[in-house]
Symmetry: none
Subunit: 220 residues, 2 copies
DNA sequence: GGCGGTCCTAACGCGTTCTTAACGCCTCGG
DNA sequence: CCGAGGCGTTAAGAACGCGTTAGGACCGCC
């Protein structure tokens, strides 16, 4: 949730939490982009009346790397504003004042839409098994623990199985937009991941390096 | 479009067609379900003020087999109605009267969302297969590795398949604006690419040189 | 306050990739 | 018939990227 007015965000946050949502609140656009890059929210509720950064720029900033549903809140009811926000990439535009039930319904609609019905949650290879939904990995029948960063990296690669994921994208998704140059991190963590998952870490079979480009997860 | 009032539907339909949309108009819910099943629309605009069948039932009827984006129009502004429609599976709810520009923006947002970003991007020839999305090349059933620069060059040519791509453009896209004169690079890398992909590298069949101008990729 | 776990950082050696230059061939125009 | 320019080919050195390792910073927990 992105809002600088403590009152509204407080009320909304309480309401959302009561319904079982986890809520992070950002007080500015910059903060919002920062947090979003770290926690990967399932949806974003964005108040346009922010000081500093323009609301539509926040939308564009998010859309640069994420397709997370964005619901825009605003006191401004003009068509111009609505069209601008929606065309910038927002999913919905709600004018204040609004009813809580309506917002919640629109949130449900947005989240529902964003969740593709058919997503294979379990990916198995001959040597291990990744459960994306449960965030668990099994190897040789045993549960295997990954650190949060390791898991995040594995998750991105497995979600894009078969596809080459660029270094930029990995860094951006796992560490945030400011870390796009830190290819060092990738090397360190890929080594750890391979040590835990690959049958022969020195000669990777599943987590393949494409020199100069990125990494690729290949199931059997 | 589902609407029984000829006036509104007429105005909307004209507007949509003027913007290049193809429009089918259904005057009742039953008709709407019927037409939708036949033509598989890219989006549905549904007026709730229909005689006969209830609007939310139309939504449910569509959702039974389709995930087409549904935008609901209604004169009723109560939260109850909005929540009901959205929870039935509608994607958006617009209260009449509304601005045409807003509706069009919401329509664009809905359609954009429904179109998965990842389109199948595989270009195949008799001798190899280029997957632009996964950044992968298969030749004789085997995965083939290209270096970053090689791949970049192939990518530009394949994206412009059939078309002549000038040396300037290739150099600029792959090496940057400062390298527009370095036609040497092109010769070196085209040779490498041909060695990896062409059935007879000395007599190129897919990556054709247009002397003095540039190169061209020709699929079968 | 100590401890375990996690992440960041820097440095090294190695293999790959890019750059650069040179040479011969072909085509085309004079 | 000759010369020039463009192209393909090759090879070698330079530059870069990768995997690996280890030490130190940071954080939450006991």
């Amino acid at each position: 949730m992105v809002d600088d007015e403590a009152q509204i965000s407080r009320a909304l946050a309480v309401n959302l939490k009561a319904r079982g949502y986890e809520v992070d609140v950002a007080g500015s656009g910059e903060k919002a982009l920062d947090i979003a890059a770290r926690v990967h929210p399932d949806a974003v509720i964005l108040d346009l009346g922010l000081p500093g950064m323009d609301g539509t720029d926040v939308v564009r900033g998010l859309r640069g790397w994420s397709s997370v549903p964005i619901i825009v809140l605003s006191v401004r009811d003009s068509e111009r504003d609505k069209v601008a926000a929606l065309d910038a990439g927002a999913d919905d535009y709600v004018t204040k004042p609004f009813g809580m039930d309506e917002l919640l319904a629109r949130l449900r609609a947005a989240v529902r839409r964003a969740t593709p019905a058919s997503e294979e949650a379990i990916v198995a290879t001959d040597h291990f098994e990744v459960d994306l939904a449960a965030k668990k990995i099994q190897k040789a029948g045993e549960d295997l623990r990954l650190t949060p960063t390791e898991w995040h990296l594995v998750e991105v690669l497995v979600r894009n199985r078969g596809k080459l994921v660029s270094q930029r994208q990995l860094l951006q998704e796992v560490w945030g937009p400011k870390y796009e140059e830190e290819t060092n991190y990738l090397r360190v963590f890929m080594a750890q991941i391979r040590r835990k998952l690959e049958p022969d870490p020195a000669r990777p079979r599943y987590f393949i390096t494409e020199p100069g480009m990125g990494y690729r997860f290949i199931p059997d």
